[in-house]
Symmetry: none
């Protein structure tokens, strides 16, 4: 009968859940597994989270927020648009590797329908931030004239595909530099190359 502070138990539940969900997915992870990993009783889980869905929802939110504040927000402070895009890829991928379960967020595996609203919100913010960067690049004559919104989506898709690969088919991972190289060549005005 370990008497831990409630705070600590909660933390351990979250850590265990993140680990297991990303290892075995939502359906593949049972509450018992989480309890065991967290060194807590099954009943204990329900003291901190109403049910499995709520727990996973919390995890998603948390990760999304972390992604936002660690990866997206800092982009706004970078002057050079090309540099910002490089950072976007580098940081996002770095983040993904530390949080393999990120795909749960970017990839949304089947049957993980809840949390959709929250995800959409983040995706929108992400799109806006990237579009803003592209726009600045166009205005500063650095980038070709292309629709910023569309390019933003493209970049996000590339990243999404990459993240998926990180988890699913590592043998298909491309070199980041090549990717950035091609993309930037595609965006930059010839005069800037």
């Amino acid at each position: 009968m370990n008497k831990r502070s409630g705070h600590e138990s909660r933390k351990r539940i979250i850590e265990s859940a993140v680990k297991l969900f990303s290892q075995s997915g939502y359906n593949g992870t049972t509450m018992r597994m989480i309890a065991k990993e967290a060194g807590i009783s099954v009943g204990g889980l329900y003291l901190y989270f109403k049910n499995k869905e709520e727990l996973s929802l919390y995890l998603i939110k948390e990760k999304l927020n972390e992604f936002y504040s660690k990866v997206l927000l800092p982009l706004k402070d970078i002057q050079s648009p090309s540099q910002a895009l490089k950072e976007y890829f580098t940081k996002a991928i770095e983040f993904a590797k530390e949080n393999r379960e990120l795909i749960i967020i970017h990839g949304k595996q089947q049957g993980f329908a809840f949390g959709v609203e929250i995800k959409k919100e983040l995706l929108k913010k992400e799109r806006e931030i990237l579009a803003e960067i592209i726009k600045r690049g166009i205005e500063s004559q650095e980038f070709n004239e292309i629709e910023p919104e569309e390019v933003a989506k493209l970049l996000m898709n590339i990243l999404g595909g990459y993240l998926l690969s990180v988890v699913v088919e590592p043998e298909n991972l491309f070199k980041l530099e090549v990717c950035i190289d091609v993309i930037l060549k595609g965006l930059l005005k010839r005069s800037n190359l």
Copy 2:
């Protein structure tokens, strides 16, 4: 007891399974759901497929083969590398829209571990075909000098991300032309623009 031809029942099962698997994933789809959607009894399912796994495996194989013969193989007959790449995206995406469930293949959600070998095989072929196209583009001085294998992977990733979006977050779909435009600009030698 509706008496259908065995062939028709089989077809309906496949259609229903494809639809449901792509909507709700492997774990999220129950045999009862498939049976209901196919207008057949649960037991009837097992007249045509040994079990759930075998059913889903069949679906995967079928789609992969279709993708290979309809999208990948024709690329070999296209002379111009840029044209071939355009076709790759156009056809693949067209195929994806007709088969929203393709993500089951390109995306592989958690807990869908079987059929992995078959998928890897296709991915390898896909990579080789694309790399071959890039190589030809470089040799003909059309493309910049970049590692063909890496670019192939990049292209596949972009497509993968796109396919994911087709299913998961349609609001994030980029315009195909923009994508092709950026990528080709990134690949083509300045002198070819």
Copy 3:
């Protein structure tokens, strides 16, 4: 679409059922198995037997009758009581080896509750025939004075155990001669040894 005479189909069903029931038991044998073995369709089975229970019931009856007419009845014609008992064991065991499924009858495996009445009837007849033999043996001063009914039961039990072993634990089968030897020594008056 084999057009067989109804008689032949029936015969083949019976043979197949006997074979499979004795191999795999009642629950372990499916109607489909029987149909396949008989080279007939599943539906065809039901043209000849109302259901599985009725089929197995018929089999039991048939075998019991065969046992009665082939093994038990002939005993009445044997003059010498000792000889009759020898015959009882020899013939019964011979019959059992040809009809491994006999245990279904003598042994009545669990969950085979129907057909009980018919079995009881045969057991009663068997007991009477044996008791009659013993009685004659006692009257002719050949056997010790023992309760004929009880000895009859004992003999039947020994046989039952033997039959069980035939099917279940062949490594535990005793030599028939030893058995007969011991039993007869136990029954015969010393003066007759």
Copy 4:
């Protein structure tokens, strides 16, 4: 939700399973039946036994061990061979009456193939112990010269048949004294009668 001690639940499951298995056999007994009889939920069963097979296996092992230590082992301490054999029957039958389900062990109904190894082992030990008794009887000139192993098998078969009857056809049960009488007369040298 009745809160019983884990120990009590386990005990009740075992008792119920023993009862039902011996009544209706392995296939004839469903987990639902056991749960109901034990006054527990279906899921509860799986808290104590991994699955149906494991449950039945446990039962078999338990009973076999009990039979060995209560019935077989004590025989070794009995000086007189005849007395030992009498004890064998008396104790074994007594045990059987208390454990009607013993036939599950001695009888092995169809489709109860697991646990066979364990049973064979016990049968071997049983045969050896009995053979040893017979041998001593022969050496001490008490018994006729017969193959001890064979007689051992015979005795086991008689017991097996008896046990079967205890459960299946009580109207066919012979009187124990008669049995012992006949058998011993069959074994004992005339001079010892």
